[in-house]
């Protein structure tokens, strides 16, 4: 309504608009209202620019429902993707769409090309302007680390945001399928998903007969933080033939060391990009009160796996395989272990009962 009347005013004043532009205070008031409440902007101009560029008769966009139930209209040809989480960046590259990735976050470090992409800030507080400046026609977000407010803000200015929400290894694989559909990379997704599922079912078959090992997954040592039972990491442990001694609904529970000493996990699991650094940290832990009372630490029952387990992306399956081989070496043939397999250090066998 306000827009219509402003348009009428404009037509009438067109002839000497230079004069009117400065002379009509009412218009400046309207302009202010216009700024204040973007609802006043005409609906047509709010549609993403992808529609304007493609021919009018071709199907301009497809409608998807994302993993948190939002409806997202994605252009038929996705040319500029912005990823707001490291795992989504990995998925985009794994699907062969790395060239179309216009921007990612400060934490996106895999594959190496991801680090070369323009950065939009951290996943929790990305710079909205930077995102818009990359003229994305699709933004990928994940509920676990991105903020609801960020997603809503981007959606409000007319940018399509697809949100994933995996809670398990299987849901991670489903996410890969979904992202494949949204990016129109169904074939690549099908091949990738098929491979991942096959590797996992091979693991399942191999360790089906063995009892799960009781492990403590160490996210952080000081203070001690582990994972809750509802997280995808807990599920990944389960797939690798391990069961976390921690059973809590909190996602990243801060734990009391006394409780862990009471539970006495069989194996401590660490995740790290550089195993050497972790080894140094573990050596330091051995002398610390409390920690040194852990049988697993005393006896060197420690597994260091790839930090890929921290990200619900295809590489996570590598980490699951590593862990499975380290925990259940007898279930796999000598030659069957992955190239970068982890190992349980058994150097302290002398003190075993």
């Amino acid at each position: 309504m306000e827009f219509e009347s402003s348009r009428d005013l404009t037509n009438r004043a067109e002839a000497n608009f230079a004069k009117t532009r400065l002379a009509a205070p009412g218009r400046w008031v309207m302009l202010l209202i216009f700024f204040l409440f973007d609802a006043a902007l005409p609906a047509q101009t709010r549609i993403a620019q992808g529609a304007a560029q493609s021919p009018a008769n071709a199907p301009a966009s497809h409608l998807f429902t994302d993993e948190i139930g939002r409806r997202v209209e994605v252009p038929a040809a996705v040319e500029h993707i912005v990823s707001l989480a490291p795992n989504l960046t990995e998925i985009v590259f794994a699907l062969g769409k790395g060239d179309h990735l216009a921007g990612d976050t400060d934490f996106c470090d895999y594959p190496a090309e991801a680090a070369q992409k323009p950065r939009v800030g951290g996943p929790v507080n990305p710079n909205l302007e930077e995102i818009v400046a990359l003229t994305p026609d699709l933004i990928l977000a994940t509920r676990a680390i991105n903020r609801r407010e960020t997603v809503e803000a981007l959606a409000r200015i007319g940018l399509p945001v697809y949100v994933t929400d995996p809670h398990s290894v299987d849901e991670m694989i489903t996410s890969v399928e979904h992202v494949g559909e949204v990016l129109h990379a169904e074939k690549a997704a099908a091949a990738l998903v098929g491979d991942l599922r096959e590797r996992l079912s091979y693991l399942d078959r191999r360790i089906a007969a063995t009892a799960p090992r009781r492990v403590l997954f160490v996210v952080w040592t000081d203070p001690l933080i582990s994972v809750g039972s509802g997280t995808f990491i807990a599920d990944a442990l389960h797939r690798a033939g391990a069961r976390s001694v921690v059973d809590t609904a909190a996602e990243w529970p801060r734990l009391n060391l006394e409780e862990i000493i009471r539970l006495q996990p069989e194996v401590l699991v660490f995740a790290s990009a550089h195993a050497g650094d972790t080894q140094h940290d573990i050596d330091a832990l051995r002398t610390r009160p409390g920690w040194r009372d852990l049988d697993a630490l005393r006896r060197g029952k420690i597994v260091v796996i790839s930090d890929a387990i921290n990200r619900p992306a295809p590489r996570m399956v590598d980490a699951v395989e590593q862990l499975a081989h380290a925990l259940h070496p007898d279930s796999f043939g000598r030659g069957g272990s992955p190239a970068n397999a982890a190992h349980i250090a058994e150097e302290a066998c002398a003190c075993a009962r």
């Binding site: 700024f35 929790v124 710079n127 302007e129 676990a144 609801r148």
Partner: protein
């Protein structure tokens, strides 16, 4: 004798409004994506003649859908916090009063978090919860600050600090135990953050509430001058102290609540700005209130501009910027007061 005249009032406010306008233009220009002033003027012109559809899309999105609403939000938050700070200073007769220092911001934060937990689907409950939280906290602090029936400056500040830390502890408890993922953004919000745009429905309420509350406080501006020289004196000079206190108490709580519900706890603005205005223009509340509103707007627009640009593309919470500037001033005022 230098009585306040309408001329001086208008000139001061006009000058401050000019500074604010300059800051807004600068803030529109600077950002993760730099924009030239020429383009800015050109595009403003296009909008002014109703040809907004001719705007380049990302300009429109960045400048008019992201940057401008954020600047306008900053203006309103800055005005709200500064005026509520100036009001609490008169109400409590304490130059160190500030919604953040008194714990009112924490109360509003707790109120809005509770509203988010109880009924996340009703966005309008957040400012209401913030208002109730702010009102309850200032009542508690006021009660704690009384000693033998008199409002004691030191006790009042201690009461505020204790309330703030108690409320923060409850907030931490809620955020840890409820483990709701949607509360994770609260960490940013608790430090004061303008990066999240406000839903359109809330903007109307925010603007209307802001104007109403500042207007209500302004009607008592002359009374506040007298209240500052003492409650007894004010009564004998014809001030309806009970009414004035009620109006200012409710309005200042409302302002704090509005600001906190959209931007989190941005600290020290309510302390810093009125004090700077006093130094520059004197302590007459008839001038102090509008000048603080404009000054607060300038302060937040500048602070947020810095927060957006110093480590771009990463953003700092604007509360960190204001606290960096505000805490030293607070200590300075405290030391000066103790001497």
């Amino acid at each position: 004798m230098r009585p306040l005249t309408m001329k001086r009032l208008l000139w001061t406010c006009g000058a401050l409004a000019g500074v604010l306008l300059a800051c807004v233009v600068l803030a529109l220009k600077l950002g993760a994506v730099p924009i030239s002033v020429t383009d800015l003027v050109l595009n403003l012109g296009r909008i002014a003649i109703g040809r907004s559809d001719e705007l380049p899309t990302e300009y429109r999105l960045i400048v008019f859908d992201l940057r401008l609403p954020r600047i306008l939000l900053g203006i309103m938050v800055g005005a709200a916090l500064s005026v509520s700070g100036a009001s609490f200073q008169a109400l409590l007769r304490n130059p160190l009063a500030d919604p953040f220092v008194l714990g009112v911001s924490s109360g509003a934060a707790l109120g809005s978090i509770l509203a988010l937990i109880v009924a996340p689907q009703f966005a309008l409950l957040t400012p209401l919860g913030a208002f109730l939280g702010a009102g309850a906290t200032i009542a508690a602090v006021y009660y704690l600050g009384r000693r033998e029936g008199q409002l004691d400056s030191t006790t009042l500040l201690l009461g505020g600090i204790i309330c703030a830390s108690f409320l923060s502890a409850i907030i931490m408890f809620l955020m840890t135990t409820l483990a709701g993922r949607d509360l994770r953004g609260m960490v940013f919000w608790l430090m004061g953050d303008l990066s999240t745009p406000v839903p359109a429905g809330l903007r109307w309420i925010f603007t209307a509430g802001l104007l109403a509350a500042i207007g209500a406080i302004y009607t008592t501006a002359a009374d506040l001058n007298l209240l500052l020289t003492g409650e007894r004196e004010a009564i004998h000079l014809g001030v309806d102290v009970t009414r004035v206190k009620l109006v200012v108490y409710v309005s200042a709580s409302l302002l704090t609540a509005l600001a906190v519900s959209v931007s989190g706890a941005i600290g020290y603005v309510g302390l810093l700005v009125p004090h700077a205005v006093r130094l520059l223009f004197g302590s007459d509340y008839r001038l102090l209130i509008p000048a603080s509103a404009l000054g607060g707007a300038i302060a937040i627009v500048v602070a947020d501009m810095l927060a957006r640009t110093v480590v771009a593309p990463t953003e700092l919470p604007v509360g960190a910027m204001t606290a960096m500037a505000g805490a030293p001033v607070f200590i300075y005022l405290l030391r000066r007061g103790l001497r």
